[in-house]
């Protein structure tokens, strides 16, 4: 019973039981010889105590699990042995993730790569579960297409996806983001000069930031037409208030001692802004920029539901849903998710460079 106290031990026991069940109920005919062999390998490797598992062993477990999962796919059907094997692989992956998380941290940039391993394994497991469930239950593709179908669709229609991406992300979201952030920043500098204005604008701005601003999309489409300017306008309205509120808050973040020091240097308003208050405001500003980055893409896509030229991600999603081409819809979603994550990631990277001195960025 020692194994139960190990990290991932409970999962190992469950996996072994599920494997035995799968082997007892079915055979190589139901599950394939490769699947059975690789699963057996995972069971054997998994019994070793955590302390003796090095990177090589964990890698071997991961490879065997991946191989078993891949080999099971052609046999996917809604039968008991298959489901038992699915449960075994799922528990095995869980065990792997738990043990990856417990590995001692490697130094330097290897440690950063290591931090990605557990979430990657988790994501791969989710994708695989999606694929195998869709195949086993024979889910119609108008309800939920399998990830492999979506991937094929992405490869087949890169040109359409690219045109949509340029229309919605580059023209709509990015230009709106730049204008909105720039305007909010300039306005914040203006507001910052008057304490009265700041006290009045912060509550109102906070209130407006919480409102469903996305609802202005039909109005913007009416004002600026169907093409990308109306989408950019929606994005401007959506990103303006979060950035404004955060910047104003950030500019007020210096304490009296620091400002007094600047005054003893007889620094002008511009000098104390550039040398003291802007750097101190950066963590707040980047907080606003990050919130705004996810809002921007959403705003651009949703605005297209209210009218758009015959291209753009929102247009494609709404028309392909109507034509029940769900794989195309998921392809657009994948592109949107990727673009959104990259956008966020770029801003987070810039933040790390600019606010390296802040406690939340140190010690990583």
């Amino acid at each position: 019973m020692m194994i139960l106290r190990e990290t991932g031990g409970v999962q190992w026991v469950g996996m072994t039981l599920a494997f035995l069940l799968a082997a007892g109920l079915g055979g190589t005919g139901d599950l394939g010889a490769t699947t059975m062999l690789l699963l057996l390998a995972v069971v054997m490797l998994g019994i070793l105590p955590q302390a003796r598992k090095g990177w090589a062993l964990l890698l071997a477990i991961a490879a065997s699990l991946g191989g078993a999962g891949h080999a099971l796919l052609p046999f996917a059907a809604s039968s008991l042995p298959v489901w038992a094997a699915v449960v075994a692989i799922w528990l095995g992956a869980w065990m792997l993730v738990a043990q990856l998380a417990e590995q001692p941290r490697l130094p330097g940039s290897l440690g950063r790569v290591q931090g990605l391993l557990a979430p990657l394994a988790f994501g791969a497991t989710l994708l695989w579960l999606w694929e195998v469930t869709v195949r086993a239950l024979d889910v119609p593709r108008v309800i939920l297409p399998a990830p492999s179908l979506i991937w094929e669709r992405i490869l087949r229609s890169t040109d359409v996806l690219w045109v949509d991406f340029v229309q919605t992300f580059v023209k709509g979201a990015l230009s709106g983001y730049a204008i909105g952030v720039g305007a909010a920043f300039l306005f914040a500098l203006l507001v910052d000069r008057s304490d009265f204005l700041r006290r009045g604008l912060l509550p109102v701005g906070n209130f407006l930031a919480a409102l469903p601003i996305i609802g202005t999309a039909p109005i913007m489409v009416m004002w600026f037409g169907f093409d990308w300017p109306s989408k950019a306008a929606v994005v401007v309205a959506m990103v303006f208030f979060p950035v404004l509120v955060n910047t104003v808050q950030g500019l007020a973040a210096t304490d009296a001692m620091q400002r007094d020091l600047m005054r003893t240097y007889s620094a002008s308003w511009g000098q104390s802004l550039i040398k003291l208050r802007l750097p101190a405001a950066m963590p707040f500003i980047f907080n606003g920029l990050k919130i705004a980055s996810t809002l921007a893409l959403i705003g651009a896509i949703v605005a297209e539901f209210f009218g758009s030229p015959t291209r753009g991600m929102g247009f494609r999603i709404s028309t392909e849903v109507g034509r029940l081409q769900l794989d195309m819809v998921w392809a657009e979603i994948a592109v949107a998710a990727l673009a959104g994550s990259l956008f966020y990631g770029v801003i987070a990277l810039v933040e790390r460079g600019v606010t390296f001195w802040h406690p939340s960025q140190r010690g990583r």
């Binding site: 979430p119 006290r199 109102v204 609802g215």
Partner: protein, 298 residues
């Protein structure tokens, strides 16, 4: 309370700006009408006309307020299908549409915050969940869920799930994330000294949770609940767009944009704003009462 005067000033300025924008936004149509009638439009007549058009590009504030009043109180009191005449809410009143949206919002918010709290508890107590779930919770928010709301609605309709649930699912998805982030921060707020004290009492894991972690997470919980309910409302509104504009504030927005009824769009927008503001205020009230009873009032 010292903020009242500045806030009122800023609000007054915004309304004044709005009035000022009405004239140039609507003057095109007014001048076209006058030219067609062969009249010369004086400035005062122009202003009067731009303030009272049927389908203005930008309705004046008082028009929106009027429409809000008409489509709530007047419609229910005197309308043919109003509450006074039929005993049920009129499908032309914003109270009915607001209620449709609100019920989906509240259901989604309840599920979302429960899910968020459960995930946060798991993340704080389990290293594997911390390492594997948290990055995906963050990644899940970069997927523009609002953008795929139509597909989710259509697919769920195809499987036979209709009505409240699909909208609530979108709201859930949007509202769980702020709660997870806030609660993970909150449950980790107790410092080492306090945890050590619990250990000297030989408190069990459950006791540490109930007596230390949970109470100290309360301020964080309420802060994130405010964000979550605003997000849930946005989710419910967007989820109503693809259902063919039947009911709800989102449907009012869509039908308003189909028929060029700008005043209707603006009044639906303001109804949504009032709804959001009052729900955030309600949570703020609960927060104040709870924290006061826990002895944590600021």
């Amino acid at each position: 309370m010292r903020n009242v005067l500045p806030v009122l000033t800023v609000t007054a300025c915004l309304i004044a700006l709005w009035y000022a924008a009405v004239v140039p936004m609507n003057q095109q149509w007014a001048q076209d009408q006058a030219r067609r009638a062969g009249q010369d439009l004086s400035f005062s007549a122009l202003v009067a006309d731009t303030m009272s058009q049927q389908r203005p590009r930008l309705p004046a504030p008082h028009q929106v307020a009027q429409e809000l009043w008409n489509s709530t109180v007047v419609e229910e009191m005197t309308g043919r299908r109003g509450f006074m005449n039929t005993g049920s809410l009129s499908n032309r009143s914003l109270i009915y549409h607001g209620w449709v949206t609100l019920s989906a919002t509240l259901l989604g918010f309840a599920i979302g915050s429960a899910l968020g709290i459960a995930l946060a508890v798991g993340i704080v107590h389990n290293r594997a969940m911390d390492a594997s779930v948290m990055p995906w919770a963050i990644a899940s928010q970069t997927i523009p869920i609002l953008a795929i709301a139509p597909m989710i609605i259509v697919v769920l309709n195809a499987v036979g799930i209709t009505g409240l649930i699909p909208k609530a699912i979108i709201s859930t998805y949007l509202s769980f994330f702020p709660v997870v982030v806030g609660m993970v921060k909150g449950l980790r707020a107790p410092d080492q000294m306090q945890l050590d004290l619990m250990k000297t009492y030989s408190a069990s894991g459950g006791q540490v949770f109930a007596k230390l972690r949970w109470p100290s997470a309360m301020p964080y919980l309420f802060a994130s609940l405010k964000v979550a309910i605003a997000a849930a409302l946005v989710g419910a509104i967007v989820a109503e767009l693809p259902t063919g504009a039947v009911a709800g504030l989102g449907a009012r927005l869509l039908s308003g944009s189909y028929y060029g009824q700008t005043v209707q769009i603006w009044s639906a927008l303001f109804a949504a704003a009032i709804l959001a503001a009052s729900m955030v205020a309600l949570i703020g009230l609960i927060q104040r009462v709870t924290l006061k009873r826990m002895g944590m009032a600021a």
